[in-house]
Point group: C2
Chain length 324, copies 2
């Protein structure tokens, strides 16, 4: 456990991950209030919304209005997601968006075909255009995500060699385009990662991109999210995406029966870290309050745990009565 | 990770943990069908019900009838819980109950007072009577649980020295009464454990009771259940209690807002183990089917993850479409 970081940085994904899978119609006021509550927890990067095709994702059609409605804190980055030029232009036209040069790669070829209409290699080549596009916009490349870095539902587990191919392409792109990637995220898009794989693939990423800070975007699709986070922490990983109250999920990431869980839960991850003496800079009670606000807005029980059980205190709480 | 066990033994707690916190009235036929489905998963020890005060726990009033209704497998132990002489006699009078000499201790004095009406030390002394009682009944002592081994909601964290006091009492009881404890369970009754504490307390238990096999009874009250299970596996712990579909929970183990989560989820724990090459002897698909049966019986979404996302297969599954 000697590799545990002293401090971790948790980026909040809930406002985008959560509401993009809910039916449309949640008010801008409610969603802005949630983002504001999250900023008051100490979170310093919050993904607010995505600028994507409003026909395909009507929940995000009002992304610009949402950004405009949020009372901003100067110390928080309010980020957005886009997938094509049109979305990027809409994001650029929205003053409050904290633009960041982000690249996306896929370890799974089959998953890329279904998500992007082209294979992983071609999709990777197209990222070259984004590097130029961001350069034209004076946006330095801040991070790259390797999606399905552990596998996908079509191919099953993706081999480490296949992941290495994606990572080596990124390294070659850095050299060819003359930039150095600050942050490299391994995304367990459909929850196929497990602790041994996390350790091996974090090491692999560091060996191929030694200058990049490796982060993890974990989904709790199959219940291993927090165990995978622990495995990463034990490797010294200090950068995680998470969603308040475990907001989110993906109806397509599992094989039916109620869909799949979303990102690992922000407040539960923060509790794990704080309990082990790893600083998060977050206010746990405010996180729990924000999670409960998210639950009130969504209108059904959400799957975060700490939000329901509460933060343990030394005294004055109602006694437990469970036998074992 | 070199201390990972080759094989783990998972004991099923769902039928008792789950239905004792639900309203009464679930049919014996449904509960028997669930127990039978669990036995068909490869689980070799299943806690079916508790023999406790039917006025306080009406859900368990029909425990004897439930035991009688189950189609038994010869290779499965169908166990029960009792807390007093009356309950023990009812269990003994029920032919199908797999009786086992089990002792209970409390690390938290305040928790013991609220649960037992006496402090931890006095409750421990009373276990001496149970040792004699089991001897009279020709029941060897099979296991001891130290409840609130990590802390409780009243006292907060229980110190390792306080836990050591409970463990030393058990060692002295062994010497005085002339038995050797096969299994010692550390129970994280209210979910205050974290991975560093799991490691230290497993080591502590092994140092004081070196001949006992140390097991963990983990609750996911605050979301750290699977991370704690990983920490235990990394210590070579090969004995766990768990509940199918994460059945269970405790309205008193948290501090309000919807109660607290129950045991760690059987099928998710089994998936964690199998993904890391630790054999469970369990059929994952049957576990998922049993979890879905539990969900149909309970009649609301249960919190297990694998049961909703499904077991990853190499091919032919619906594609994932999440962006990150």
């Amino acid at each position: 456990m000697s590799d545990l970081p002293q401090r971790v940085e948790i980026h909040e994904e809930g406002p985008r991950e959560g509401f993009q899978i809910e039916p449309p119609g949640f008010s801008i006021a409610d969603r802005a209030a949630l983002v504001e509550a999250l900023a008051d927890c100490g979170l310093r990067q919050i993904q607010v919304a995505s600028f994507v095709n409003p026909k395909r994702v009507p929940q995000m059609a009002d992304a610009a209005e949402l950004f405009a409605a949020i009372r901003k804190r100067p110390d928080v980055r309010y980020t957005a997601l886009w997938l094509n030029e049109q979305g990027f232009e809409r994001a650029r036209a929205t003053a409050a968006v904290d633009l960041a040069g982000t690249l996306y790669f896929y370890a799974s070829d089959a998953f890329s075909r279904l998500n992007n209409g082209c294979g992983a290699a071609q999709h990777a080549q197209e990222q070259r255009r984004w590097v130029a596009r961001y350069r034209d916009a004076n946006l330095p490349i801040q991070s790259a995500y390797v999606m399905t870095a552990f596998g996908c539902n079509i191919e099953g587990e993706v081999s480490e060699e296949t992941l290495a191919t994606s990572l080596r392409f990124i390294a070659s792109l850095e050299q060819g385009e003359g930039f150095r990637l600050p942050k490299l995220y391994l995304a367990d898009t459909v929850g196929l990662g497990h602790p041994l794989a996390v350790r091996r693939r974090v090491d692999l990423a560091r060996s191929i991109l030694p200058h990049a800070r490796v982060g993890l975007h974990l989904h709790d699709t199959r219940g291993l999210g927090m165990a995978n986070a622990l495995a990463a922490l034990e490797q010294g990983v200090d950068l995680f995406d998470a969603s308040i109250a475990a907001l989110g999920g993906c109806p397509f990431c599992g094989n039916a029966h109620g869909g799949a869980a979303g990102n690992i839960c922000t407040e539960d991850l923060a509790f794990l870290c704080e309990q082990m003496g790893v600083a998060t800079g977050l206010d746990l009670q405010r996180l729990v309050d924000a999670a409960r606000l998210a639950e009130r807005i969504i209108g059904r029980r959400l799957e975060g745990k700490l939000m329901h059980s509460g933060i343990p205190q030394a005294r004055g709480q109602r006694a437990a009565r469970a036998v074992t």
